[in-house]
């Protein structure tokens, strides 16, 4: 036997004063009595037990010394060498993914898993260490290796629920790294996984060594929204499309109603009748310039709530004032602009005076887009401008010779301006050769001829963006091609900035990158749908946020009271594995709990010594109260 704290033996010296006190004769209390007749009868009857009377005091001393010995023994924390050899390193992997929020077992699968985990912690032996890892969204060490059961209980209780996916294999791998010591001996290592098995990688962990799976949950049917996305139409400026997918993850037919509303106004109701394991998917086309929050719901009470609701953010579309300056007029150009649902078109023959730049009424935040056809004022006025076939130069470029039959050989497909556009098969008999001045900065050539002459150039100057198309629209078939209205639409969207971009609804547990406006001046906060607030790193224009482990709308707001969100992100469960609440066959059924280890018997030796000391103290108290000892 060894002692973890041999210094505790010093306390054994307390035996000396105890013995001294017993050796010293204690003065008895004198009590007068009127006659000793009766007492004499009592004690003379007990004469045969006089030996016991003498031993009584010795017994009292022995009890005291034994009590001290037990306490000193407990202080030294003795242990056997086999205890060290038999010590286990246990990792409790608890699945806190979205499917664990299912309520098929009361109150939920996660709560049940925690309850089982608490029992496992109670069963730890004295020298055992345990760590806790949460396997939802991202494997996370909730509590490092410790043998302190109260700490383990507290950390297990604090494991949060999430709507994220399950990461069992990664968690078990992390557990393996956590428990394997430097020698790499896997002896007495055990990984206990508390899961419902609703994960892609469940089969993988069933084959691993030292992994014990404890099943939570029953085979339960569920209907969930597995996909819900919205995007603006590429053709219709105010149109948008909704991608929906609903799956019946049950073994029987289910009837329910699928509803979609935009900012609270119902826009679609679909009665569904889904056979077992049937998937219903549909793309819905709607129109709305306003945009907002799209919410999809299934009116069915099932075990998992998270996938009965999905959200998506539809970008708002704003009307754009456009001033077409064309001395000769171009019907194609005019009609293309008029056809755009968001354009408020004005047509003039001559450019407006520089002293009164065209503005859209009192709306100072929106610059009027000026389209210069042939005529270009010098210098080019501030504000966004689309220049088509310029006849003259300005402060940004000089006009050169005409280019005959330019063939488009270079096209920047990555630019949003060139999305869905192909110019290589467009007949363009004539174009203008341009030479850009240093004031133009770095022109971004979106399309160029074989000879290198730029045909479509974007300038991003501080006074406003400029897009220059050098092709003569009167010649060639560009106005007749679908590429032309798409180019105009892309151009208008480019001028409008990112306000019309697609904002994808992310799956729960995702990590995404966001752009922050005016990063140096402000502190931004990320507000979760459940009210949680995370600080974003200050002073950066681009940052990564996540994992977004709760379904709903996440908001990035300035750290100021009452501030409006600067950006919103929709987050949905959108995970087929999590929505399917039917556990795999390999999952142990509920009730097959892990064999409890030692319980009370697994305590350290000092614990038993302490218990013995307390029992002895109780015995001494009992004996003293009955004056069997002094």
């Amino acid at each position: 036997m060894n002692f973890a704290n041999p210094m505790g033996l010093i306390w054994a010296s307390l035996a000396i004063p105890i013995v001294i006190f017993y050796i010293l004769k204690i003065r008895l209390r004198r009590v007068p009595v009127s006659t000793i007749l009766f007492w004499r009868q009592i004690f003379e009857e007990k004469k045969p037990r006089s030996l016991w009377q003498r031993l009584r005091h010795l017994l009292s001393l022995l009890i005291q010394l034994t009590f001290l010995a037990l306490l000193v023994g407990a202080l030294t924390q003795p242990f056997f060498s086999w205890e060290i050899d038999a010590a286990r390193r246990v990792v409790l992997v608890i699945d806190n993914s979205a499917s664990m929020n299912a309520t098929d077992v009361e109150p939920s699968r996660l709560a049940r898993a925690k309850e089982l985990g608490q029992r496992i912690i109670d069963g730890l032996r004295a020298r055992d260490d345990m760590a806790i890892i949460a396997a939802g969204t991202q494997p996370q060490v909730i509590c490092g290796l410790t043998g302190h059961q109260r700490t383990l209980h507290e950390h297990l209780t604090a494991v949060p629920a999430s709507d994220g996916p399950t990461r069992l294999a990664e968690s078990v791998a992390l557990a393996g790294r956590l428990v394997n010591d430097d020698k790499g001996e896997p002896k007495h290592v055990q990984v206990i996984v508390l899961t419902d098995g609703c994960a892609k990688d469940f089969a993988e962990i069933t084959k691993m060594d030292h992994v014990q799976i404890v099943g939570v949950g029953r085979r339960t049917g569920n209907v969930g929204i597995t996909a819900f996305q919205a995007r603006r139409s590429l053709l219709d400026p105010i149109g948008y499309e909704i991608l929906t997918e609903v799956v019946n993850y049950s073994d029987e037919q289910v009837e329910c109603r699928f509803e979609i509303d935009l900012n609270g106004d119902v826009i679609e109701v679909v009665p569904l009748k889904l056979a077992a394991n049937e998937k219903w998917s549909k793309v819905l086309e709607k129109t709305s310039a306003s945009g907002g929050l799209l919410t999809a719901r299934i009116n069915r009470d099932d075990a998992l709530v998270a996938d009965n609701r999905a959200v998506a953010l539809l970008p708002h579309r704003e009307y754009q004032p456009v001033l077409l300056v064309s001395a000769t007029g171009d019907l194609f150009l005019e009609k293309v602009l008029e056809a755009h649902a968001l354009v408020q078109l004005s047509v003039v023959r001559k450019p407006p005076a520089p002293s009164s730049p065209p503005r859209n009424g009192g709306d100072k935040g929106k610059d009027t887009i000026t389209v210069y056809h042939h005529q270009v004022p010098n210098p080019l006025p501030p504000g966004p401008a689309l220049v088509i076939d310029p006849d003259n130069g300005c402060d940004l470029w000089q006009v050169g010779d005409k280019v005959q039959n330019p063939l488009v050989t270079k096209q920047d497909h990555d630019s949003p301006l060139m999305a869905h556009i192909r110019l290589d098969n467009v007949l363009m008999p004539e174009a203008r050769q341009l030479t850009f001045t240093p004031a133009a900065g770095k022109p971004h050539v979106l399309a160029a001829a074989l000879t290198g002459e730029p045909l479509l150039v974007a300038l991003d100057r501080p006074e406003g963006k400029v897009l220059i198309l050098t092709v003569n629209l009167d010649k060639g078939d560009l106005p007749l091609r679908t590429a032309f209205p798409i180019l105009v639409t892309n151009t208008l969207a480019w001028f409008a900035g990112g306000r019309g971009e697609l904002r994808e609804a992310l799956a729960a547990g995702s990590i995404t990158e966001v752009m922050l406006p005016q990063p140096s001046a402000r502190q931004y906060l990320l507000h979760g749908p459940d009210g949680q607030i995370r600080k974003l790193p200050p002073g950066v224009a681009r940052t990564t946020i996540g994992p977004l482990d709760q379904c709903g709308v996440w908001s990035i707001v300035v750290a100021a009271p009452g501030a409006d969100p600067v950006q919103e992100i929709a987050c949905n469960l959108a995970n087929r594995e999590e929505s399917d609440l039917r556990p795999p066959e390999a999952l142990p059924s509920l009730g097959e709990e892990p064999a409890r280890a030692m319980g009370f018997a697994g305590r350290p030796i000092w614990f038993y010594l302490l218990v013995a000391a307390w029992l002895l103290a109780g015995l001494e108290w009992y004996l003293y109260q009955r004056r069997w000892i002094s």
Binding site: V31, V33, T35, W39
Partner: protein
């Protein structure tokens, strides 16, 4: 604080009045003897015989029936009451002190007897007779008696009731009521002394006094040194709950032995705790018909 103050005397007077009104001579004095003689209370008639005193002829009866009958009267004889007061050190115990209580009871009984025209004597004893208040009569002697009682002190090393009774019965005195006021803690046994009184045709009555702490000792657990205040003997003991229970049983057995002795020989026996005021005890004794007679 004096033992016999004015309140005490008032209570004595009250007890005296109560005894007359309620018991009309059945307590102590006015005990009629069967001797007929020169009393004043009519008893019966007998035939006249020559030589009888003519003053006792019932002339009314002679006038009606023409028959000479002589009236007979019952002769009254006063009672001798001997109060044997235990003055041993064992009486000097308890709250209130048993000795004081015994002296109050003795004084009260003596006063009632004197008020009933009986004769009383007080014999103070411990291991032997230590003091005497001679036979006396009349309420006027009560103050002298109180003074005698007040001057008594607890003394003696060992109560010996047999020796006391032996000395008492061999005195040349009339027989009468012998009231023993004592705790009866006699190492040799109280019975021998009382037997002597009985055998010498005294009519004993026991007033046994004890303190509540004697009957039910408390705060006596653990290692103690008990010392007898009478013999001054000490004993180191360890008292347990079991010992206390044994003690209570022994004490109860002792009390029952006293009662049993009284019942066996038709002796009046009054056992009392000092917690009861002495006047209530006297009333209790009065109510117990024949307690003194």
């Amino acid at each position: 604080m004096p033992l016999f103050d004015s309140d005490f005397l008032k209570k004595l007077e009250y007890l005296s009045l109560v005894s007359k009104r309620l018991f009309r001579g059945t307590l102590l004095a006015q005990r009629r003897t069967m001797q007929l003689g020169g009393g004043i209370e009519f008893a019966d008639h007998r035939d006249y015989t020559p030589g009888d005193d003519f003053r006792y002829l019932d002339w009314n009866l002679y006038a009606r029936h023409d028959e000479l009958l002589l009236k007979r009267f019952q002769e009254e004889e006063d009672l001798h009451v001997y109060l044997l007061l235990d003055c041993s050190r064992s009486m000097n115990f308890g709250v209130p002190c048993k000795f004081n209580f015994a002296r109050q009871v003795t004084a009260a009984l003596a006063y009632i007897a004197l008020a009933d025209l009986d004769r009383i004597a007080v014999v103070a004893f411990a291991e032997d007779i230590i003091a005497d208040f001679p036979l006396t009569r009349g309420k006027g002697r009560i103050l002298a008696l109180l003074s005698f009682l007040e001057n008594l002190q607890p003394q003696g090393a060992d109560t010996n009731l047999a020796r006391v009774a032996g000395g008492f019965v061999h005195r040349n005195q009339r027989r009468g009521l012998a009231i023993v006021v004592s705790d009866l803690y006699d190492p040799g046994g109280f019975e021998r002394g009382l037997d002597l009184l009985r055998h010498h045709r005294y009519e004993p009555h026991i007033v046994q006094i004890y303190d509540r702490r004697e009957a039910d000792p408390t705060n006596m657990l653990g290692d103690l040194e008990l010392y007898d205040i009478e013999t001054m003997q000490g004993r180191k003991v360890t008292i347990t709950e079991k010992n206390l229970r044994q003690y209570r049983k022994l004490f109860e057995a002792f009390e029952q032995s006293v009662q049993r002795y009284g019942n066996q020989y038709g002796i009046g026996c009054t056992r009392t705790s000092t917690e009861i005021p002495f006047d209530e005890l006297i009333l209790k004794m009065m109510r117990a018909a024949g307690a003194v007679r």
